[in-house]
Subunit: 342 residues, 4 copies
């Protein structure tokens, strides 16, 4: 049994990690850290965990956590985890960071989009951007994995194979729709039930911080497309559906593109390529990513469509998948459960 800890266990990504780790056959939880709620019973922070978790939330003591853990998940806002991660790595503990700090390889871009200088630029180069379907080898060997953002995950999985085959013209237009849990657990009038029920709205069109992360992740394919990224909030708790519109550079039809995706992910247990259209609910509470392509012969445009659970493949599920690779487990260990439907 490996021992793991979660720092930031009172947020939604942290809570989802606890849920997955609880059922994982090869790990046990050492510490659950929630600095602002330290000392509170875990099942007071997460009533769903009554009888499943008997302990308390811990305060943040990196040394102690490092010594008790083979790996630590950090799930904190931008900037908040950098110093902790340095300490953990210095103690020889491996880290999967669900925050944004180690995703962008270009610290100048980080400074521009996040409005702050990076506190540990020397670590940035070492961090491995962790999409297991694309970077498994590097993840296995990594000390520090930057767990991708929810939007970049689904967009990369939808487009990477098509880009590698030179089929995607630029710019790409990504129109993405997310559940509200992506906005986190802090109280805000903008995410209150009364303001959101029956409401659909765009936000941060062209200015969302995931934009450079999407472009960097797509560049991994060998091309460097610009992306016009338009996120939206849908009146639901979980799920992202992303439509990635592009001009096909070759006269390749819909059936061929779908076949190409299917081939690209033949060895990827969590990617499901469909002939039909994805919907978020079919991935609810799972680590699956459902994909398809539609080509519109009339207009000469196409769209690669992907659906994930933003807290699953978009955050905690993928983090566990990365951990599985780092520990040499089966990728699917602890994650091979059916989505909850309906």
């Amino acid at each position: 049994m490996k021992r793991v800890s979660v720092i930031g266990a009172s947020g939604y990504a942290g809570g989802e990690l606890v849920r997955w780790l609880h059922s994982h056959p090869e790990v046990e939880i050492a510490y659950l850290v929630a600095d602002t709620r330290a000392g509170e019973a875990v099942d007071s922070v997460w009533p769903s965990l009554r009888k499943l978790s008997s302990g308390s939330m811990s305060s943040l003591d990196p040394q102690e956590i490092a010594s008790a853990s083979d790996l630590v998940f950090t799930a904190l806002p931008a900037g908040a985890a950098v110093q902790v991660i340095e300490l953990l790595l210095a103690e020889g503990t491996r880290v999967v960071d669900l925050g944004p700090d180690f995703r962008l390889q270009d610290v100048a871009s980080y400074a521009r989009w996040y409005g702050r200088e990076h506190d540990a630029p020397e670590l940035v180069a070492e961090a491995v951007y962790g999409i297991p379907e694309l970077h498994a080898e590097m993840i296995r060997a990594a000390r520090l994995v930057a767990n991708p953002g929810c939007y970049p995950t689904v967009v990369t999985l939808a487009l990477d194979a098509l880009l590698r085959d030179g089929l995607v013209g630029e710019p790409i237009i990504v129109d993405a729709k997310s559940g509200v849990s992506g906005a986190g657990r802090s109280a805000s009038r903008d995410t209150s039930f009364s303001e959101l029920e029956g409401n659909f709205r765009p936000y941060a069109v062209g200015t969302h911080r995931h934009t450079p992360e999407i472009e960097q992740s797509l560049a991994n394919s060998g091309t460097s497309p610009r992306v016009f990224f338009a996120p939206h909030l849908a009146p639901m708790t979980r799920g992202i559906l992303a439509s990635c519109y592009f001009e096909p550079l070759e006269p390749v039809g819909q059936t061929e593109m779908i076949a190409l995706l299917r081939a690209a992910y033949a060895e990827s247990p969590f990617v499901r390529v469909l002939d039909g259209l994805p919907e978020t609910k079919a991935t609810f509470a799972s680590n699956f990513c459902d994909l398809t392509v539609r080509v519109d012969e009339r207009t000469g445009r196409a769209t690669a469509i992907g659906a994930i659970d933003n807290l699953g493949k978009g955050a905690a599920g993928q983090a566990v998948q990365n951990m599985n690779l780092m520990f040499g487990f089966e990728q699917t260990a602890g994650l091979w459960t059916a989505p909850v439907y309906p």
Copy 2:
């Protein structure tokens, strides 16, 4: 007082018409027709109307309806209203048709997209496509107004002025998100609560029947852009948000485009041009259309974003607005009420 009737009064568009007409100061309802529920009390079909409507649903007797009505609204599925409309017009009664039969001027296109030959091609030429903000003069004089589809309405209002100024390259990509009431009131597993709560899904991508209607309506601007139309179902009852992505043909910035829209709709009471981003809930249960533009300098792409209530400006509200023009009333008569929020 003018006398009006509604044929198809047990569906969502029909019910919404009754709601608006009930509060209208210058009309009274002659007949509410719902052939399959004829004889049932109106407030049994619509419990919300108890005490407001004391009558019963009528069966379909065009002669009788015509003789009692100055104007008739028809809200029936494709094909079902054509013959009735012929009879009503022959009796000298004016008609606003909320169905799709008289929207497409090209009967060959109608046959292709609707899978049926048109039963009254000679009437098609006479029908006026009724977006009051663009076709007020023709609507005032019309015998037969084809009330536009929900998607074409919001897309046209978002793009028409920009097209006229030659700012919009083609193809245009329209990613639209609709509430479930757009699918009508018939029972279907696909629109059941359990299948849709927490679910977001695309449908009919590139194949939706509103595609040719959108292209025809945009062509009114003097250009003929192709449109890749991708509709989606959002887990909410009412509302459409449409994002219309395009390549600006001139180096015109966001502020100028918004100013241009504002100028175009200076005399249009129901179009609200925003600096901020529209959201569907701000138009709930109203006849308003909220619009803005976002230009992404990084990628050289732009999007015109519009929000409406699909049953309001997207159906019954616009139908009443058309009726107001036809009767010489103020456009806002009976429609100048605040959206319901939250």
Copy 3:
């Protein structure tokens, strides 16, 4: 035209008042006061009101408001409005208070349930508890109307007539289910979308502050039943459904009880007595209250069931109805609109 102002115009009850007042044919708005958002455009606080309201939120200047207003609505939290109301009355302006401060006639009970001494006990005796269906004469003459709480309104309308006829044994058990907007507009994790979607939960069972108000309001019937009041939060924005369980004291059947209710409200335009079961959506965005009774012969128990919109008949709608009486208007003036459905 009468001139009215709203103090507390940035909360949900205040916003709903603005919506109703906007459409009212016999009043115009003098001031909209929102102290914490003074100077902001009304349509920035309420995007739904764009084009309908061009002014700004005002700061709280009681003298100025009084001199410009024939009547003022106050919609503030417990304690916050008392001093303002004293000033307004002293200036000769009539007041409808949507807050809880003048509802309880017994200031000792107020102190016990609200945890604070009343700041103007001498005014309490003068305040008229404003359920128009029961207290129309006193409301017409009142300087100060205490607009009832949402729960007490629907429970009183459901039980009053049955109590007067001596049919209701005690204690009464009220199991009520409310939409989230009843919790107000302040940001709170407890009312966030992610925590509430798909969730149903009780709160303040036996301890809710509306308990003494319900008992006082029912005592108006001449009996003084104790009430076990159990409120719940349902995953919806608006609406209350209340089930009031009791032991019938006489062998009166369901049909007779329904007939009795119907007779009691024969002159009440906003109360709709049904043979079938009420549902909240049939009252959405309206001032209606739907009622019925079910008698269970097997167990010798009965339930009076009522449905309202908590922001309509449960707050702003009833406040406008009270204003109509105070100004000598028709009760239905500005309120006779159809509920929004679906």
Copy 4:
């Protein structure tokens, strides 16, 4: 590995069974039967199961199913499973029936409430009513387990211990609120999204078929209280919250009653007794039942409150728990997963 089959695998209870069985470490699925969709791929009926289930839905061949299965789950409407169950038992296959046919021990009561004569009254006596917390011994030995209804499950767990201690006066009033999935997967306007979003409504007040089942199940405690049962539909997919109001027969306070419940379920892994109030979301997608008691000293009344997932502990979860007992597995085998939150 034991082999099990599911008859009725295209409904919600059947689908949930498949989800649980997929993750169960000690069983494998032999047949999934859905007569009306026989031959369709399982993942066409349940898109959530793509990659997890590669087979097809089978038609109903009891002989074949019996020979391939150690145990069969039947999840069919009233009356539809009786003959099949007879055949399965005759072949020596054990059965857990999720339908209502073998729950009521009194066939006269069955005939009265279900409007049909029972087709196999001789089997009724043999069937074991399967609440594992109360009837574990009999379940272990049973050939045929009648899996309880969702409402009777939560009401029995809430009240049984209190009844045994003689604390509960009659009649009991049960006000229960259910998610929509309890109504099944068939298309119906009554369960469509547009009719239910934002809606809360009672149904079958005093006449629901679970009434005699609740009374029978409570009678197991040695008392025979009458129950006034009032179910409601809440706008959510899963979850039941039941409030069971009663008059305490002894002066036992809230703390003692909670302690008593805690003692009664000390050995029951899936029952969680809380000091705070239950909410449905904390049990989402799990087999847990959360309970508490509130005593109102003012009125001398109390309520036992329970929350479950209607498809979990209210159907498929409990069925798997029953199977675990029948096979001699740990009760928690395959079920010890965290609820999904948020």
